[in-house]
Symmetry: C2
């Protein structure tokens, strides 16, 4: 029916991810969704890893484009936009974790974050550490959000100390994200001032 091309494959991949998650995504299920045979996909994409990179690049591009429209965006802004775009695709944080990080748009985001930290006063020798840490914070946070949104409450252990971890206080996930981001940014600030 529909002509098969990379954007179509990309779109179907995202739909499949949002329906059943990364573990259910195979070249065969993807082909079935597109009413095509698995082998056909290989005419348009090199392999499955390529497909994963395509997704991480799409997310990175969306984040990058949104940031272009904002003047003087700091890491607070970057982190919030990144989280929003990651949340649009189920398991996208895991995809970021398993793919090679230095693809075009993702590299630009890294450069951007690094320049933001440089502006905060972080010295060169610690820049990549801080950049990685900021990146990992956002990825892990959204990964946890998506994980606990899927794990049914019953599977949570009932004998936890004072019910502390039940739904991982995802009651106010937005506040919790801001709180964590504050911790990170305040910590960076302290270290910058210490160095002076």
């Amino acid at each position: 029916m529909m002509k098969l091309d990379r954007p179509t494959i990309q779109q179907a991949t995202i739909e499949l991810l949002n329906e059943d998650g990364l573990d259910a995504l195979s070249m065969r299920t993807l082909a079935k969704k597109l009413d095509v045979k698995a082998a056909s996909l290989y005419f348009h994409i090199k392999n499955k890893n390529d497909l994963m990179v395509l997704i991480s690049e799409l997310v990175s591009e969306r984040v990058y484009e949104r940031l272009q429209k904002i003047d003087d965006a700091d890491f607070y802004v970057l982190a919030h936009i990144m989280r929003e775009e990651l949340k649009r695709i189920q398991d996208s944080p895991r995809i970021f974790e398993i793919t090679f990080p230095f693809t075009p748009f993702r590299s630009r985001l890294i450069e951007l974050a690094l320049s933001q930290f440089r502006d905060m006063g972080v010295d060169e020798s610690h820049l990549t550490m801080v950049g990685n840490m900021g990146n990992n914070f956002v990825l892990s946070y959204v990964s946890d959000e998506q994980y606990f949104a899927r794990v049914p409450d019953q599977k949570m252990p009932a004998n936890l100390p004072e019910q502390l971890l039940s739904p991982i206080d995802m009651a106010n996930p937005d506040d919790a994200f801001d709180y964590g981001l504050d911790i990170f940014m305040a910590g960076v600030d302290v270290k910058v001032k210490q160095a002076k």
Copy 2:
């Protein structure tokens, strides 16, 4: 030859991980290493996920036992010991990420970390957030360490801005870890004082 039991399987799994990594670990390769057929493994363990949990529990137990011997261990100590034990098994951070977190020893570690943060003055409503963040920091850090130790330098892009990211400044990975941990702990401190 050797009698097959859970500890033997556990040991072989760790050796296989340290030789070829998680992606190369299959029930069949594991069986081959033990001079046994894949089906035999299922007499001793429920399934592959069970095996992954076994590994995460082993690491957690080692961390827990070491912490028991230290009086007044704070999160600095916990994080350092956790990193050391994670580093002993290739891809163990990824195993932590894909397995259910509330297993016996791992739960104890979580409780321990939470009580450490409580002692620092973190209030109940933010405890799990801070606990998750500390946990994610250590896991992501070791994951990155192991990742960049395996990716050959040639695969790194040559056109990065000022060579900033080349070996991800893994020149002094220990200092970088301390720096990141300082950021986190200092940030927590700031937020605690803010709340007062």
